[in-house]
Structures are given as C-alpha cells and as structure tokens.
Subunit: 284 residues, 4 copies
C-alpha cells in the first residue's frame, strides 16, 4: 500500500515513506522562552519537525491573533538551535511572501480548505503544503481542494485529518480515521493526522495517536506546550512535555507493528541562543 | 488503564482482560452450509466467538428477515463442532425466551439502543449483553442506555462502537474511535469495536481493526462470509475468509504493541456434523 | 398539491384535508388537575385534539416514567369533558392492548421509529398511527418505516417531523421543514410538525409553527402545560397557555395565506368533572 | 420583534424593515442575453434587487469560474435598464477594488464565512455585506464572524441562512429556519434566506420561501435563470421565470399574514440597451 504514496519533503525529512515523522510544538508562538522550551522538549522526545502559529485564526475577533512578524526572529533562533523544519499556518495570501524565508511547509487550516484563492496562490510557491480537511468537508471535496494546488503546479501536498464536526459534545471533534484508511487505499496522497484537534482532550491522545498510525497515518501533528495551563490559545488540548514523551514511546511500538518507525529520543547539544535571546524584548 | 475495566464473560472467554477476543461470522445465518463453512473459517483463523443473525432488522420490510427459529438446529450443531459462544441480535422482547438456550450473549442493535422496554427485559435475563451505540447517540445517551440494564440488575454489559452517521458518503458510517478511547478513560465498561458497520468497506477493515485495538478496544466484531458476494444481507461489507485471516495476523502485531494478545490460528479436528446435517432440509 | 394526500382520521377530525388541526397538551399526564387545566386551556384556544404521555421514554432511567395505568381514569374524564381525541405514545408492544380503549391515535416516538417489532404490532390494531421521524433518520428510512405499517395492513399513518440532530447547540434539534415540503411533493402521506421538540425553545415556536404551515404541514403538535415551570418532563420547552393562544392566532393567519384554516377559539360549557375527580386520589 | 432590527440599505431598498425585498437572478452571469433576460423576468415579477456571480467558487477546479471582469459592462447596462442594486460574491480580497464600482452589496459565501482576512478587508469598504452562514457553522460562530466586520468599522451586515450540511441526501442542504427565528429573537441582525441552496430542489422552493417568511426572514435570495437547463452552474436548482412568479405570488400572501409585504409585479418600460449590447462581443 505504502509503495504508491507520493513522498513530500519537509526540510530533509520525508512524509509518505517508512518513517513516521512527528510534527510537534505549541499552537501559537507566544514568546521566545515559550517556543524555545517547548521545541527543546519535543526535540528531545524525538519530534522531527516543529509547529507553531504565527498568524492565528480565531473565531472570536478579540482573542490573541498571534505574534505576527515578531515571531520571525524567534523562529530563526530556534530553527538554528534544533535544525528542525517548521510547519506554520498561512491565513491570508498576503502573508505568503513574508513567511516564505521562515516556514518550511505552509499549513492551510480547516477553515481555509475551501479558500481557493489562497490555494491557487500557494500553488505558485512550490513550497510543501499541508492541507487540513475542512471540519465538514467530504473526502471528495478535500481531494478536489488538493487538486487546486496540484493543478496550479505544486505537487508537494500532504493531506491532514484533524477531526470532523458532529453531534458529539464530549470530544471537540470526531477524528475520522476511516478517512485516513480511505485516502491510503484510494489515492497516493500522504496523510498526516492531528489528534490534538481531532480529540481536543489530552487524555485521549496517546490512544488516538497509536490508532492513527495503525490506520495508516504517514505523520502525526501534536500540540505540545511547555506550560499547557498558560497557553494563550487552545490551552485545553495542549500536551505537556511528559505526556508527549509517553505518546512517543507508545507510538514507536505501534509503528513497528505496522512495519514503520519513529525517530528515537535524543540528547541535546549545548544551546547558547537562549541566554542571548532573553536580552531582547518582544512586546505583545 | 485496563485494570479497572469490568470484565464480562462470554462463554468461557473474557471481554475486558488482556486478551482481545475476536467475534466473527456472517451477518445472518442463511443455511447450515453457509454458517458452518463461515464459522469453520473464522475458527481456524483464531476467532474466539461467533456471530450470526437469527432475526434481522431490515430497513426495507421486503428484505430477508432472517431464518428465525429454523436457525436453532443449525446453531446447536455448529456450536458443538467448534465450541464457541454465539452473539446474536435480539429485536423484540418476545424473542428472548426462545433465544435463551441458544445464544450466549444478546446483541442490542444500533436502532434499538433507545428501546428501553427491550433493555429492561434483557436486564432480567442475567445473560451478557452487547449494547451497540445508536448511530446518532451521544456517548452520554449510550452510557445511560447501559444504565437501564445495570439498574435492572444485570451488570454483564459491554458497549459496542459501530460507527456514527454523518455527512460523509464514501464510508457507510464514521467509526468513532474517539468514543472508544473516551469510554476506556472515563468509564469501566469493556468496549467492542465493529469495523464492519463502522466502515462498510472491506478494504478499510484491516487498518481500522488495528486502529480500534490501538484506541483501546477490548474485542472486535467482524462480519465474515464464506462467499461474500452471495450474502443475503450486508453483502457489500462482508469479509472473505482470506481477508479475515490477514486482518487477524495484522491485529496480533498491533495487540502486542499495546500489551495485549489475540488467539493464535488453530487446526481443526475432524467434523462429522456437516455431512449429517446436509441430509436435513431447511426451506427458506 | 394537497388533493392527493391520503386523509387519516383522528376521532372525528381529519389530518390531510384543508383544516389544519392542532394537537396540544402536556408532555406527560402528571395528575388530574394538571391534565384537565392544560387541556381546558388548549381547547378554548382552538386545539382539535389533545396529547399527553402515559408511558414516557426517558434517557435517564431515574427520571419520571409517566403515570402508566393510573392515567386512564384521568384520560376518560377529560375526554368526556372536552370531546377531543387523544394522541399518546406507545413504547412497548405490550402496552397496546391496555391503551386501545383510551387512545385515539398511537404515537411512535422518534427513538422507536426503527422498532420494527412495534410497528408490525401496531399495523394489526387498525388504529391511526403518528410516526415520528427518527432524529437521525433519512427521509427514505422514515418512509420505509411507514411501509412496515402499511404492509402490515394499516393505512392510517401520518408522519411527524420533530427535528433532526446536528451540530447546533442553540436549539434542541433542527426542525427540518425541507422534509415537510419534500413529503408533500413526493408522497401522499399527511404530515404533522412538532415545533416543540423541533426547536426546544418556546420563544421560537410562534414563528416556527407558522413556518411549518407555510411549508405544508397538515397538522401541528405542541407541548402546552398549565404551569410550564412545574412540568415533570421537558419543562424547558413547554408553552404556557398564553403563549399557545398567541401561536394559534398567528397560525390562523398563515393558514389562510396558504388556503387552509385552523379551528376558531371557543367558549367552554360548564364542567362538573373537575370537582368530582379531585376527591379521588392518585399516588405518584 | 422587528422593531429592533438594524436596517441595512441595499441601494435604495431596506433590509430589516416591513418590506421583504426579493433578491433574484442567476447563479453566475454567463452572457449579456442570459443576464438581461433573467433580470428582466425577475424585475417584472417584483424582485427588488438582482444577484449574479462574477467570480465563482467551484469545488472542482475545472468547472466554470465566472466571467470575471468581462461581466462588468454587462452589469452596468443591466443596472441602468432596471435600476436595481446588485449583490455579488467576493471570493478574494484582491477582487474588492475591482468590484467596488459595480456591486452594491458584497456577498461572502458559505465557504468563506471563516475567511477572517477577507472579512476584515470588507469591513474597510463600508459597503453592505451579506454574510452567508458556513454550511456547518454554529449560530455562535456565524455571529462572531459578523463581529469581525462590525469591529472593523462596518455595521452594514446582514446574515444569510442558506442551509446546513447533514446526513440527508434527498435535499442538497437542510434549510435551518430555527436559526432564522433564533437570530430574530436574540440579535438585531437582519436576516436573508436563500431557499435555492437551502433545498437544492426547485419544487420545494415555493413552500420553503413562504416558510422562511413565516420564520422571520427579512429578505429572500433566489436563483432564477431564463433557461434553467442551460445554466453553467447550479443548473439543478435554478428556478424558471414561471416558477419564480408563482413563488412571488405565494410569498406576497404569507408576507401579509405576518404584517409585512413584498413589491407588486410591474410592467417594464421599453429597453434600448439590449439591442445595443448584442452588437458587442464577449468571448468566454
């Protein structure tokens, strides 16, 4: 099955091959310390790529909207420390040019899956795109949205299942792993699974991360925060570093059971950037 | 997590312990040959219990409604050959008495989850009950339906997730593995997963059976037919014996990855019943 | 359009003709006073038939389950006072015989629409049946459930739209008036609309009752309680008598705009039963 | 109830007052003849404003995407002939400047309701905005999207209910009139109803247009095409001019029943533009 998946490159890692990279980090980049410490933790636990929102889409116009351009120097420092590619969401075609030098994969969020104007623009960039499923999009509509990017000349597209909306209120969304199995059987797209939005509940993420891998996920994307209770967005669904480490250990075993693998935990070389950066100032 | 699950006995097997029993067989018992051959196949592949409908609930009143009482001699012969307990659906309180001697676990189907009159009656039997989730039931309503049985004096209840109804048309239902993980974390019910109804597509069942186990399923229930194309009900979702065997092999590996296990394949001792039974006649 | 509707008789009123009868009363019959006073109020406002639950289906097994047989003398007295037919829900085939002398139309509740055992039994009674749509039933499944009754030999079936389940939480259900218009255009079933369950909010019922009539409803069914705040079930959605009267006035105008009509308000002849009944005792 | 609605001006007509303006026209502007003839028909039947897509959002990237800038001369000619304001959908912030001189109200389509970048941009224009509900948006999310526009400094926002997505397949969407009644009771937004997308079936639109008015709609929006079978987009749901006229007649009566009114049919003064325009050429 896996042999026909079109492999997409995210920095020097591959999505769609035997390795299952884990993309982890906070919902939003809030400050240097918050981002550095979160990424340091996920790096040590074995994450292969980092995530972090620069421009946030918030249902409530009063909510924290992200650091915007103030995030770029933070990103550059953390990237050079950990040498991990960054996935970050683009919410407006006019952000593309600014984000280009700093972001390794553009994420199209669930609420923008049908924003064809944005998709066409992203097709021109030739950067890899992570296309989240609209939370009420059919599988067909999702594939057709991906086709907007392919036909625009960019074939570096991975799909991302992040839960669909239904009547259940115990979980934030319903993670649709049927769709993951379906995509693997019937298309050659690589597919990422996001159990953070897909469940909205940290205590379910270990099991659902393993389930995602068994269903055929080519990568996982998880929200991890060095201090979950203090997160400025999506605090309720952020994993602690300890929870994330347990999930990684558990997923390594499930991955092996389906003939795939996840990067091992690693030690961290000395960092100098942190002290250096702390002397600068970022005003929210 | 597993330690607090209330174990329910199905014949001499346990649901809720480290073993993950697989309940397999055809949607409906159609004839001796069909049932014997299907059950022989699933037995050899490692199934621990058998399923087979006696009274079918059909949306269309013209569809095949099951063999009814003509199924009982078939059941008795097949049970004595393979020594496996039978799970079968009860659709009317007045069937209970007839089914009692032949059925080891009563299944309450998705469309009867809210049939509290039936649930109260089943509570009086003290037989184990497999309570399928209504296809649009919230987790809360499902647990409350189980409470009808518990409060009626029967604590031998297992829940069964079989997919929920939504907007997606590529899959018959949306298998809600979030609900499985939730039930394991927040209740002490054992939970069975039915990927057959949960996907409606044989080509997705291998992945989704593994996913169910990773999500915490205590047992699997799968529709298997010796000749899927000829099945009188739910033909489109029936697994062949070959597909079932592959699923069992794959699930054994995933089960180990989460510190559980599934019965190994077994050889079959000689059967005499088959020849004997064929001389009898059942008129549909 | 209306000419092809199969007319169903409820006592001496017709459902499916130019008159739009309004069926009103409390969710459950709780006591003589509560039922008498509620029905007196709806009678005066122009209701043509009364509703009131004898056996309640409650999600929570601890909730009030209805008066059961103690309701029958209350019903008989109130029926003789107001000379209105009664619609009441049957939840178990074994209630049918007891209910037969007291109930003029059997209601099959939303959670029993798929209870084919019950439908087949009701087909044998030849009493008119009000078949509520399962809250997640497709129009096709609903029609097929009605066919269970028709093919059982009873053609006195009216459908009842009472809202479907979705993701919206501001309203209890989503009243699907598309389905009403569809049923009128594509079948010859008469159709009743229940804005009480369909909205769950008294402040929306005036507008939605009018909308139901404009969409083609052949009758309305509304929950009205003499003291809504004290209702033992569904208190949040019960209308006061004052609200009900306003709804009736508003609906009369909309009905005329679509060439139909609703009974006028009427004065009440003197009642003796009330004083008489109060001397008896009902123990909850 | 109506007294507190914030009135929004569309050209010289008001949305939110006692008059219920009807906005009608084809899904997309396809050619001068198609647009002129469609608008002439709806004008004569009593429509107060015209609709017509310039830039279409199509799920399939291969489908007809609208005339784009070639539509502007057509629009100008037809506007001068009928003196009706135009509502047209904006799908990309970069279209705003081009559309400004030609469009009297910007429509935000269902798939763009969460496109906050677009909403913020529209807030700066001070033109009236018709904000369609996302087809799976909760009422809360819809109101919050409207708040993006209000807080951006533009209070000329009307909401538009156009059907939500569910499990039903007989109708394209489920027109949620509960939401209309809710918006009227709990907010001061004016609300438009679009039965074309809300049902997807011409034969249901007469009843559902009346139902929308009874539920509290402040305006209707309907897709009408001079030759429905030849429509380049959404052909299946386009009304003929004859059907539209019947709907208008029926809606006038329902509007009166709720103390509102709809413009009367009118005769058409002689047009010269048509002959003139036909000599020009538009290449698709």
């Amino acid at each position: 099955m896996q042999h026909s998946t079109r492999i997409v490159k995210l920095g020097d890692i591959q999505i769609g091959g035997p390795e299952i990279p884990v993309i982890a980090g906070p919902c939003a980049i809030e400050s240097f310390d918050q981002f550095f410490n979160s990424i340091q933790g996920v790096y040590q636990a074995g994450a292969s790529a980092m995530r972090g929102g620069i421009y946030k889409m918030r249902t409530n116009p009063q909510s924290f909207q992200g650091l915007g351009q103030q995030a770029y120097p933070i990103i550059e420092t953390v990237k050079s420390d950990f040498n991990m590619p960054l996935v970050s969401e683009v919410t407006d075609p006019r952000q593309i040019e600014l984000m280009m030098p700093h972001v390794d994969m553009f994420q199209v969020g669930s609420r923008n899956m049908y924003n064809y104007a944005l998709l066409r623009e992203l097709a021109l960039t030739k950067k890899p795109i992570l296309l989240k499923r609209g939370f009420s999009a059919t599988i067909d509509e999702w594939i057709q949205a991906a086709n907007y990017i392919l036909q625009g000349g960019n074939d570096q597209v991975v799909l991302c299942e992040r839960g669909i909306r239904g009547f259940e209120t115990k979980t934030r969304n319903t993670l649709d792993l049927n769709a993951v199995a379906y995509i693997k059987q019937h298309t050659n797209f690589a597919i990422v699974v996001d159990p953070s939005h897909g469940t909205g509940r940290p205590e379910l993420m270990l099991q659902m991360s393993g389930a995602a891998i068994a269903a055929g996920a080519d990568a996982l994307m998880l929200e991890v925060h060095v201090k979950p209770a203090e997160a400025l967005s999506d605090a309720a669904q952020a994993l602690s570093l300890g929870q994330f480490e347990q999930i990684m250990n558990s997923c390594r075993r499930v991955a092996k059971a389906v003939d795939r693998y996840i990067a091992e935990p690693r030690k961290l070389a000395l960092q100098k950037s942190k002290t250096h950066f702390n002397n600068q100032e970022i005003s929210l």
